[in-house]
């Protein structure tokens, strides 16, 4: 069996790119702290030999407070049963930012494992005139140092060779720490040795040191949890013993480590004496500027919506037309009846209606992937922190929330970098309010059908794109007070800190971005092909059956009567079409779903909805975009079959109440959009919340509060717009 090497390093050092280059395994790399949440394995092969590489979350130190850091520390100390014992370390450092990177290196080398330093981003270091003498660095650190540039592949072959010989190598230099610290840590470890039977293991001195230095850390809490609250006194006693001059242990440790780092740097690194502005700093002068930065941020958001709207339009029409004509042809091949209805009304009108939105989904995920990969996310957090501060959160919560615009699931997973439980849970509970890509189809269909195509500012910004922007703002505007209330009640606590690195800007990598867009598109398609397909069939069946023969007989009689009457020519055709229409309407009304719909319609009446919209909404519980499919099916079933080839847009525009009034108008369209902006119709999100919080009550709370908000806000929207005369 091959030996396991852990891949470790600070966030934003290109760790994932190194991992990909070494193993050929494909993951995405992000540019903000904590994208590497999942533990990934890969095998590095060269010749006949191989090494198992495990990718660990990026961190700045071994003191563990967030879930990410806990995983990292536990794997390195061999405390996780589900990870193989780590035999060696591959430490990735950013050559252009060596000083802070070496702080973590200093802690990692203390783990006393064979190690290699991968000196990544040599290209940036060279551009900034930072000269690094590799041999001197090797001598000072006591471990092999391999300069490389993972982005271009430079130095990867050398790193592979070094990696395969790693486990027979030796551990690196140890940082001289204050004597009293080491003595106290050893003494505490000795005490813990006597509790071995309770702990089930021996606690090494390095872990004892972390327990002493890192106040209220995970390691300390875990120990207290095992040995009882009384043990706190023992820890405090050893802390007192380690303290020498009234300074905190953390300050002493950091000072010792940074002093060591500086002695290493003095030998090996030459930096330009005068600080010249790097390219990244010059960009930041503009993008985080008081005025232009904010302007850029708002402009960027508007641009994204405008692009999704106008650029994707032609593509969307193409897909729409293709699906429409295909449905017509396939429908024509089948004999009229049950099966034709399933294929045309169920599958083509349902699944096809969702597929149309593939271009928009791809464009949106392209934008988000670009923003993540170039490093703008941290800047957005910097610009927005104050706004989030008003609701008791920090810029740390901003990154998961921005990711939630693509999908709430990765957004919720990204909260693992937040170390405070209260802030993490608050973020998890409001992240699903961000408008994810699954809401996009709902917005687009409603806007395209019912918002006029005017434009303002000399044609620069369309009203429709503005409406889309407005819908995206709704989620944010509601999330702010919600988070504020949560932080005042359930998760009461001080404002979380905001200490965030601003990584240098990077040119987004085509591979990384392309892969993200590809996965997003693949997921969307596979969801349409599996879940949405299945739900559509069920909705169709519930809306088609029982298809009672009494109704058929009744309308057949009416038709016969009409044919025998004196009505002739065009008038007769029209009358026949009307009978057919009413017949289809009757089938739908007396179907299982129709009866259920009649039962729930009064509940949704204040929102301006008829039973079809209401049941379509309820059926979309598994995933929001299902509503587009179910609306397609329901409105197609209820109309004459000759019109079945109409696109969903036209079908919706033609839909009426039983008394002939048009069903949809601007007020109803907005009430539907507002409902979907705020509701929790996404089982994947709810399951992820359960998984991340460990309790069912949090997803239940999320569902209840979001559905309640959605109902109330949709109701207010409809009533207000109706009152303003837009409901006619």
């Amino acid at each position: 069996m091959s030996q396991t090497v852990a891949l470790v390093g600070n966030p934003n050092v290109g760790k994932t790119a190194v991992f990909n280059a070494l193993t050929g395994l494909h993951q995405h790399t992000g540019n903000y702290a904590g994208v590497t949440v999942e533990r990934k394995h890969g095998t590095v092969r060269q010749g006949g030999a191989s090494v198992d590489l495990i990718d660990l979350p990026g961190a700045y130190s071994l003191s563990a407070r967030s879930p990410d850091e806990i995983i990292l520390a536990d794997v390195l100390l061999g405390l996780r049963e589900d990870a193989a014992p780590v035999m060696g370390l591959l430490i990735v450092v950013d050559a252009s930012n060596l000083e802070r990177n070496l702080f973590f290196v200093s802690q990692l080398l203390d783990l006393d494992k064979p190690s290699i330093i991968a000196l990544n981003m040599m290209d940036i270091a060279r551009r900034r005139n930072i000269a690094i003498r590799t041999e001197a660095l090797e001598a000072a650190l006591g471990v092999p140092v391999v300069p490389l540039c993972a982005r271009t592949g430079e130095g990867i072959a050398e790193l592979k060779t070094a990696l395969l010989g790693l486990c027979s190598g030796q551990a690196g230099a140890q940082t001289p720490l204050p004597q009293r610290h080491e003595a106290a840590a050893k003494a505490l470890a000795a005490v813990l040795e006597t509790h071995r039977h309770v702990l089930g293991r021996v606690v090494p001195a390095i872990e004892a040191l972390r327990i002493l230095v890192d106040r209220e850390s995970y390691a300390e809490k875990r120990l207290i949890g095992r040995l009882g609250a009384d043990f706190q006194d023992t820890i405090e006693r050893y802390r007192e013993e380690a303290r020498s001059n009234g300074k905190s242990l953390a300050a002493e440790e950091s000072r010792a480590r940074y002093a060591w780092v500086q002695s290493v740097m003095a030998d090996a690194v030459e930096r330009p004496s005068t600080r010249t502005k790097s390219r990244s700093e010059r960009i930041d002068n503009l993008l985080t500027h008081r005025f232009f930065g904010t302007l850029f941020f708002v402009g960027l958001m508007l641009l994204i919506f405008q692009t999704i709207y106008s650029w994707a339009g032609p593509l969307m029409d193409l897909v729409d037309g293709g699906i429409g004509s295909l449905g017509e042809r396939v429908g024509g091949l089948l004999p009229g009846g049950m099966l034709q209805s399933l294929v045309v009304d169920g599958i083509f009108a349902g699944v096809g209606g969702v597929l149309v939105f593939l271009p928009q989904i791809l464009l949106l995920s392209l934008f988000i992937a670009l923003l993540e990969d170039c490093g703008y996310m941290s800047r957005a957090a910097f610009l927005m922190d104050r706004l989030l501060g008003w609701c008791g959160l920090s810029g740390q919560s901003f990154i998961p929330m921005l990711s939630s615009f693509a999908c709430a699931v990765p957004g919720i997973l990204a909260t693992r970098t937040i170390n405070n439980r209260r802030d993490r849970f608050t973020t998890i509970l409001v992240a699903p309010l961000m408008s994810c890509s699954a809401r996009l189809p709902v917005y687009l269909i409603m806007i395209a059908a019912f918002i006029p195509e005017h434009s303002i500012l000399g044609g620069l910004i369309g009203i429709q794109a503005m409406a889309l922007f407005l819908m995206y703002s709704v989620g944010v505007l509601v999330a702010v007070p919600t988070a504020w209330i949560l932080k005042k009640t359930l998760f009461k606590g001080p404002k979380p800190p905001f200490i965030l690195e601003m990584p240098s800007y990077k040119v987004p990598q085509a591979m990384t971005v392309g892969r993200k867009v590809y996965y997003e598109g693949k997921e969307f398609l596979s969801r349409a092909g599996t879940l949405i397909f299945a739900v559509t069939i069920l909705v169709w069946a519930l809306a088609y059956f029982p298809h009672s023969s009494t109704i058929a007989g009744q309308y057949e009689a009416e038709r016969t009567q009409l044919l025998q009457s004196s009505v002739e020519g065009e008038a007769r055709e029209l009358a026949l079409a009307d009978v057919n229409d009413r017949e289809n309407g009757a089938y739908l009304r007396y179907s299982f779903l129709g009866q259920f719909g009649n039962f729930v319609e009064p509940v949704f009446h204040p929102l301006g909805w008829d039973w079809r919209i209401a049941t379509a909404t309820i059926a979309s519980f598994p995933a929001r975009e299902i509503i587009v499919a179910t609306l397609g099916t329901l409105f197609n079933l209820g109309s004459d079959e000759d019109e079945a080839s109409l696109t969903l847009l036209e079908t919706l525009k033609a839909a009426t109440w039983p008394d002939g009034r048009p069903l949809f108008n601007i007020a109803v369209a907005f009430s539907i959009m507002v409902f979907f902006a705020l509701c929790a119709q996404c089982s994947a999100t709810l399951i992820t919340i359960k998984r991340e919080t460990g309790q069912w009550r949090w997803p239940v709370l999320t569902f209840v509060y979001m559905t309640g908000l959605a109902y109330v806000c949709a109701c207010i929207t409809y009533q207000t717009l109706h009152f303003a005369g837009l409901g006619g």
Partner: protein
Amino acid sequence: MSWEIVIVGLAVLGASAYCGRLAWRAFHGKSTGCGCGAATCHAAKPGGTPRET
């Protein structure tokens, strides 16, 4: 007419079975494999869930 009923019946049965299986797996925290956020499915790997203490 009868083969139509057979096909439609099979489709409906298949769809119900599929949805039922998804719901069952999701409720028990297993990977659904339906593409509902690739991350969800990855997170279902053993040990992928760090817990707060």
